[in-house]
């Protein structure tokens, strides 16, 4: 492969795959809220109308 192609291959992998890995790591830093009270049943609505 030519140098230019190899450079762009690496740049593409680093930016896109690196971006994906960074996004996953960022998401994992904020853990999911435990969802005992997250249901959206009728109980969760204040009925005033």
């Amino acid at each position: 492969m030519t140098t230019a192609a190899i450079v762009m291959l690496i740049v593409a992998m680093v930016t896109v795959w690196g971006g994906f890995i960074a996004a996953v790591l960022h998401l994992r830093r904020s853990p999911e809220v435990p969802d005992n009270d997250q249901g959206f049943g009728a109980d969760d609505y204040v009925r005033t109308t």
Binding site: A23, A42, V46
Partner: protein, 609 residues
Amino acid sequence: MTQQAPPGAPAQRAPREAFSSRTVFILAAIGSAVGLGNIWRFPYIAYENGGGAFLIPYLVALLTAGLPLLMLEYGIGHRFRASAPLAFRRLHPKTEWIGWWQMGISFVIAVYYAVILGYAMLYTTFSFSKAWGDDPGTFFLSDVLKTSEEVTVGLEFVPSVLLATSIAWLALLVVLLLGVQNGIGKVNLVLIPLLVLMFLVIVVIALTLPGATDGLNAFFTPNWTALTDSSVWVAAYGQIFFSLSVGFGIMITYSSYLKPKTDLASSGLVVGFGNSSFEILAGIGVFAALGFMAGVAGVGVDEVATSGIGLAFIAFPTIISEAPFGTLIGVLFFATLTFAGFTSLVSIVEVVVAAAQDKLGLRRRTAVLGVVVPMALISLALFTTTTGLNLLDVTDNFVNQFGIVAAALVSVMLLTAGFSALPTLRDHLNSVSSFTLGRTWMVMVGGVTPIVLGYILINTLTTTLAEGYGGMPTWFVNTFGWGTAIGLVIIALLLSRLPWPASSAASDLSPSPAILDAHVDRHRMRGDQPLARWSDTALRTPALGQDFSYRTVEEGADASPGRHAAEPAAPDTPGAPAPGTTAGTGATAPWTSGAAGTTDPARTEEDPR
């Protein structure tokens, strides 16, 4: 909390279905975004538009249009927790038709998309025997599809395609019947990791083929002068836009199945970059294989590079016939195509199912059967015939160019300028996300994307009007191309005028109030046109615990009477409270009771009714 149901609401409705976790949602969203376009469209688009240099417009498009649009749709779906038509209706009753337009687009895409799945499934089995022989092109058109010379619509079915497509619809029916978590969620939980794994094997084999480096050279060698060409930038925005499957209700529907506290913006980043990561992987695999094919044929890579149906069903069979481990490559390639397409098809049909379910107040099982069976029959009748391929081609082009692009353009313009919804949606996203979106996000969504989408739309509109489409007969293009594109808008407008039955999901209270404009909706705010007609837009649930933006609404009630402010209501007008008073507004202007409830929950209880 009172348990009194609003008038006309069904006594009990099962709670809205939900994905069991954020991870399942993200996999489902990636499964929706990663489709045939990632495998057979991206590699060629990148190669055609500057090779390695395409990465720059591509990343710019991802950051300035793709991710902001993705987050916008997450915001709408998650805030209003409904299918596309009901979510838009809850946002503002006058935007409901956009949701129906998106549903119509999904309907049309699904009926032809399933047929391509049928082809991919057939070719998975052909890979064992390399049934295409020496001439895959003729084999595909004449032996498999038995394509008719005439461009028309006929009823001469091709049994093998009919059978394969029926199997695809049957599998889809089963998955959707199983529900959001057990069907859609679990299918993506299995298929997406499998898809990546299988494609990695393809890439490894392809890279060991002689000539693979020539293909990668062609794919990655940057042509920097391409960056000065505006068409390259348009191609980048188009690729990002179509690839992320934004603009036709999928992400609204999926995010409505998320739990109230879900990190939306960060999930969007994972989905957006995940989709692009698979595209890069596909580019490497496809061009390594094309490099081998060019080497065998003794021609340059430019002579074999192609996209779409030609790449999958004509170029790849050639590679499979000649490469070592050909059968393995073939089975893996067509199986990945099938899986990628299937997870996308699931999400597309779910848009229609959810809309029908909300509108008619059906149970999921009834809605799935009532939607999928007719769709399957239409799909089989129109596209598995000898004349199906041309119809598929025309419908695909028009529903993409003048359906998805136009609907996305209209929706971002209305959400930005028409209904000023972006600040509220921004605040909603920020209330649950681990990083905040600010003015930049609003400029991207409300400024950059309308310009880009408008340019793409006008561009293709003028070209298609001047040159027709693909040399096909005018009547055919008019009926199935323009007819579909324009018909979808008319049907959407008509559907939005149909009243919602009392048993529909519109009778349930919305988790969030409608987004009202201080000026445009001043009559509604003053109670002259009470929102009670739209009981679904009345209240938000305290379960969200979010600090929503009531800025606009409060402006309308308290603003000093300037040029654009609402006129103060006459004190003797019945049902119109004086500005600034909150007592009694719960009855006539329910959205303020939601706002008041944030600071003083007791107030709603004291509501004298």
